[in-house]
Symmetry: C2
Subunit: 162 residues, 2 copies
DNA sequence: GCGAGTTGCTTGATATTTGAAGCAATCGGT
DNA sequence: ACCGATTGCTTCAAATATCAAGCAACTCGC
């Protein structure tokens, strides 16, 4: 889903709406990259971006993560995490057990197979991203990274800070 | 789905992987904004980002668009567009008719109701985006817009230009 | 004009995602 | 220890999205 207004047919006039134009382009670019990545992960690994993302979270948490933490970090709903973890478990990529401190909570972690699988995907993922972002010079990437940092920072307070 | 690696636990080391870090942040920010927007459109208009996007395309194409064009512009599958258009048609937001030049093709356009609905959503959408991107100064927005322009440009040739 | 390839779109089976509701375990006083 | 919130997760139904066929309407070259 893309709103792209940067083409000739655009209805936006002049310098006004700059935020909007920026968002449209941001959205377009991200979605395009997302589709490239998701497609690659599906074709080459029978996986998906959503799975990869979840595995990535677990990869940097050797002690495992709770369902809720996973849903916060992957920015999806708890129901979706339940579903994804179940799928990944069937595929043997993750294991789960009841948390010792809280019998309601589940701790999910990567299995050896999951770790291997993730590592292979991560390699392919990185080289694809490298390729897709090649048009940006290192300093430009840095600039953009910084600018996005402040956006991200601001997004934290959105709900509470109208 | 977010891969965020910018937190303390990150496994990325130093200046290498800058592309990857940038992508992760890009993805995070975009997804967060997407969720804000989608939620707002749902709560306030009983619509969604996907619908809004489709309507936006039609809004700037007074003569209507073909299904295929819609799927290209919204970056989704043709099957999804068929579904979305059917839903929007049931809701009275769009109309469709067979193209005069090609009896296979359908031309979709906004109805008066669709136009009104879209206009209202667009207003709310713009002010939300304005608010979310407020942390960026105008010149920064411009910079980012330009940088994303080259990324977008590069994405066009990805498939053909390994 | 004809038949082999395209194209434009729909279908149907699946996969994924969301949102709300439900259940059990834990927590905070009391 | 007991009760009413709260929390952590799952479930279920419904909304979306994807992918692979499938079908009809075009196009071309002959």
């Amino acid at each position: 889903m893309i709103l792209r207004a940067e083409d000739p047919e655009t209805s936006l006039r002049g310098e006004e709406h700059e935020s909007l134009r920026l968002w449209l382009r941001l959205f377009t670019c991200t979605t395009m990259v997302e589709r490239e990545v998701d497609g690659m992960l599906k074709r080459a690994f029978g996986s998906s971006l959503a799975r990869f993302d979840l595995l990535a979270q677990l990869h940097r948490a050797p002690d495992g993560l709770r369902m809720t933490t996973l849903s916060e970090r992957t920015l999806t709903t708890n129901g979706n995490v339940t579903w994804l973890v179940a799928a990944l478990q069937r595929e043997g990529r993750v294991s789960r057990r009841v948390a010792s401190e809280d019998r309601r909570a589940a701790v999910v972690r990567l299995t050896a197979s999951g770790r291997r699988h993730f590592t292979a995907m991560a390699r392919a993922h990185e080289s694809l991203i490298e390729r897709l972002l090649r048009p940006l010079a290192p300093s430009e990437r840095q600039t953009m990274y910084t600018l996005l940092g402040s956006v991200k920072q601001g997004l934290r307070h959105v709900r509470t800070d109208p």
